[in-house]
């Protein structure tokens, strides 16, 4: 074969290929023109999906909804012209459209064909959009090599915008969804999970164990408050219908400070809107009684609250434990207050308490420990004084619907650690107590790493699981979840309620929990600067929760990892329904105006005050009121 013949053969092949391609496109174009109402709807649906970053399933669902229109049209047609002649109607309308080729004629044809064209067009749009996503992400489509990256970035931006728009709508993300689910926010992107416009978790997910990791300012507080309020609303609704117990929410804010007070106030307002009656803020407004614990548990707790050290200090620790057990489990009953407990750390008291002749061993222990008692008393006096009166009662967890406990973990770490131990012990006692009303409990520990040095988070977690209470834990980073890699992994991997990851600098270990998915990657042969028509496709693995994407999440965006899949979500700010409470107060009650002249004050009465005074007279005659 000569060179010329070979060139002619190659050119012929090229022309043949191009002609076939052109013919294929011409056929598609002809079909699009002929079925123009379907084309119009398919184009509109495709454009909407592209512009709003919808997944194809969103378009398919729209197509399914429009079948209602088709059904209504068939019913109307059958009623007006019986005999199942409906199949002829679209053809007749389409033919009439070509006869009257004007804007009004086309509009009339479109209106006549809409019941059929709507589902067909939207289904077609979904199919084309799914193919486009497939082609671009696998590298089969696109003009440039960077097409998959550009496409993904652009779609992410659009998905974020759509999710944010949905989240801002007043009725899209209420505190409680259908079927007792807890809506979290508008879905940005679902990878492996079924896509829904709003991510909603079953209330049971909150009643299990959940981990939330996010840096300061990433929207963690918002998310947690939403989950608390959602869980409370769902549990309350279940209790009202006899399907569950009354909820009891216990929040440990382990960082403390002014922010914690603001957060507590916000949580309280939200819970009131959700139907709570009593929301207590500890230790600012309400107290709890440590001494209500059963003697054995109380003795163990009091022993653990003191840092007893290791090595040579172990000897002292044993003595300490023996003394505490003697003081708390004395035959006359456990102490009822801090003062009563401190009184017992006294050789004389212990000797008389156990010296009834029926407890010779305990009496001997009390005698042996006598020389250590002043030291032990001093240590407990110091500790309990630093803890303050907030654990000295009166008050029990079950008396309120929710407790917001503020621990000053940043300012006074050792005190906060002791308080955290006491509060978790009280929560555990409330959960297991048989004499009280059973309650559905959620124990949420915000920034627990601030106090986790003496009570590892995994202990809290495992304890919660064994007691049947939900535990929700948050930390600022992966490292904040535990002291060792093993402990961190144990906490995250056993979070059967799911893991929320917000913006954090090291999300890899958490993202790994979502696993990877199989993707296709296509390599093209380049001819000069353009793609040739040869290449290979191979299977690769990609993160379900891409760590780089998680690192770049904006405020309020989160990635929910559950069952080896991930959903990116824009968390909605929690707000109760404006209809759940009476309308806001009007202006202060109208009263007759007061004369501007100063009110003469009488001499103080010699007897008791005839009228009760407010705590501060500044409230009445403050600086803004003329005296």
């Amino acid at each position: 074969m000569s060179v010329w013949t070979w060139l002619k053969f190659v050119t012929f092949l090229w022309l043949l290929r191009k002609s076939l391609k052109l013919a294929r496109w011409l056929v598609v174009l002809a079909a699009a023109v002929v079925a123009w109402p379907v084309t119009v709807i398919a184009g509109t649906g495709y454009a909407a999906a592209w512009l709003r970053g919808w997944p194809p399933v969103r378009v398919y669902r729209a197509a399914a909804w429009t079948l209602v229109v088709t059904a209504a049209w068939l019913a109307a047609l059958e009623a007006s012209d019986p005999g199942f002649l409906a199949t002829r109607e679209p053809g007749r309308a389409w033919g009439m459209g070509w006869d009257r080729f004007s804007v009004a004629g086309l509009a009339r044809t479109f209106a006549l064909l809409a019941p059929v064209a709507l589902p067909a067009g939207l289904a077609l749009a979904g199919l084309i959009w799914a193919w486009r996503i497939y082609a671009v992400t696998t590298g089969l489509g696109g003009i440039r090599a960077s097409a998959p990256i550009t496409f993904d970035t652009r779609q992410w931006k659009r998905q974020v915008r759509t999710a944010k728009g949905l989240t801002d709508a007043p009725g899209a993300v209420p505190l409680l969804g259908r079927g007792g689910r807890i809506p979290v926010g508008g879905t940005i992107r679902a990878i492996g999970h079924r896509w829904h416009p709003v991510l909603a978790l079953p209330a049971a997910a909150c009643a299990r164990h959940m981990v939330i990791v996010g840096a300061t300012g990433s929207g963690k507080t918002n998310l947690m408050i939403r989950l608390w309020a959602g869980w409370f609303t769902a549990s309350l609704a279940a209790a009202r219908t006899g399907r569950g117990h009354r909820p009891l929410l216990v929040v440990l804010d382990c960082k403390g400070g002014r922010d914690a007070r603001r957060k507590a106030d916000r949580t309280r307002r939200l819970l009131y809107g959700a139907g709570a009656r009593r929301v207590a803020i500890w230790p600012d407004e309400a107290r709890l009684c440590l001494w209500d614990l059963p003697p054995d548990e109380l003795a163990v707790l009091l022993y653990q609250m003191i840092d007893s050290g290791t090595g040579a200090a172990a000897y002292y620790a044993d003595v300490l434990q023996a003394v505490i057990t003697l003081a708390v489990t004395a035959p006359c009953g456990p102490p009822l207050s801090t003062a009563a407990f401190l009184d017992r750390l006294n050789a004389k008291w212990l000797a008389s308490a156990w010296g009834d002749g029926r407890h010779p061993a305990e009496a001997e222990h009390a005698r042996a420990a006598a020389r250590h008692l002043p030291d032990i008393q001093l240590r407990y006096t110091t500790l309990l004084a630093r803890l303050g009166p907030a654990l000295d009662g009166p008050g029990r967890l079950e008396e309120a619907d929710a407790w917001y406990c503020i621990l000053e973990g940043t300012r006074e770490r050792s005190v906060a650690e002791a308080q955290a131990m006491a509060l978790t012990e009280l929560a555990a006692h409330t959960a297991t107590s048989l004499d009280g009303e059973p309650r559905a409990m959620l124990l949420a520990a915000d920034d627990y790493s601030a106090v986790s040095a003496r009570v590892p988070l995994s202990n809290l977690y495992e304890r919660g699981r064994s007691l049947g209470i939900g535990v929700q834990v948050s930390a600022q980073s992966w490292q904040g979840l535990g002291a060792t890699e093993d402990e961190r992994y144990r906490i995250a991997a056993t979070a059967d309620g799911g893991v929320f990851v917000l913006r954090t600098p090291h999300p890899e270990p958490l993202a790994a929990l979502a696993g990877k998915r199989r993707v296709l990657e296509t390599a093209h042969r380049l001819i000069g600067g353009a793609w040739g028509d040869e290449g290979t496709t191979r299977e690769q693995r990609a993160w379900n929760a891409d760590p780089d994407l998680v690192r770049r999440l904006k405020v309020g965006q989160a990635c929910y990892i559950h069952h080896g899949a991930a959903t990116f979500v824009h968390v909605a700010r929690p707000k109760p329904s404006p209809l759940s409470l009476p309308p806001p107060p009007l202006a202060p009650p109208s009263l007759p105006p007061i004369e501007p002249e100063p009110v003469p004050r009488g001499e103080p009465a010699s007897g008791p005050d005839p009228w009760p005074s407010p705590a501060s007279l500044d409230d009445i005659f403050g600086p803004e009121t003329p005296r």
Binding site: T66, V68, V69, T70, W73, A76, L77, D81, A93, A104, A107, R108, A111, L112, L113, A114, P115, L118, A169, P170, G171, L176, A237, A239, R240, T241, G242, R243, R246, R269, Y272, G275, A276, R277, R278, A280, I281, E285, A286, D401, S577, P578, L579, S580, L581, P582, P585, P588, L591, I594, E595, V599, R601, G602, W611, S613, P614, A615, D619, T625
Partner: protein, 174 residues
């Protein structure tokens, strides 16, 4: 525990737990200044005493929470957090089994729609309604009396309901 019969009423405030310190203080100040016994006209000792006691109870958020809960306990309405008492002669609900929803429940929900519209995004809803109504009129103008007309209008209503429901405020129990 509340000692005043209704401390909210004594201060002329609505019965709700989420009042702010400032609202309670303002109500107290105005009543105290108008009824204080040291006023030249002698004030109103009874009202002043009641307001003082009420203010002492309501001055802290926890106090308001307690007073609100006590009132709800007494009234038996409001945001109830205890399981509802069983109706005499009727078996109590079995845990795990939801009681049947009364048929008028959906009608009751319909009565809340105007309030939900007002508290939602009424302007957006109005725009949606106008678009749907306008398109429905065009359909009626173009293909009157054909079987496709009611179907198209049903489609427009469906679109309005499905896309407009997110512009309503959530119902009270959500």
């Amino acid at each position: 525990m509340t000692t005043t019969p209704n401390p909210f009423r004594a201060l002329g405030l609505p019965e709700r737990p989420d009042l702010t310190d400032e609202q309670v203080r303002a109500a107290w100040r105005s009543i105290a200044a108008a009824t204080h016994p040291d006023r030249p006209d002698g004030g109103d000792l009874a009202r002043y005493t009641a307001a003082s006691a009420a203010y002492a109870e309501l001055r802290t958020p926890w106090g308001r929470s307690e007073a609100y809960a006590d009132l709800a306990d007494r009234a038996g309405d409001g945001p109830v957090t205890v399981p509802l008492p069983p109706v005499p002669g009727e078996a109590p609900p079995v845990p795990g089994e939801a009681p049947p929803v009364p048929p008028w429940q959906s009608l009751l929900a319909l009565t809340q729609v105007p309030a939900r519209i007002r508290s939602g995004r009424p302007l957006r809803l109005a725009i949606r309604a106008l678009i749907a109504a306008g398109l429905a009129l065009i359909v009626l103008q173009l293909i009157p009396g054909t079987p496709a007309a009611p179907a198209d209008i049903l489609g427009l209503i469906l679109w309005f309901v499905l896309t407009g429901r997110k512009d309503l405020a959530p119902p009270p129990d959500r």
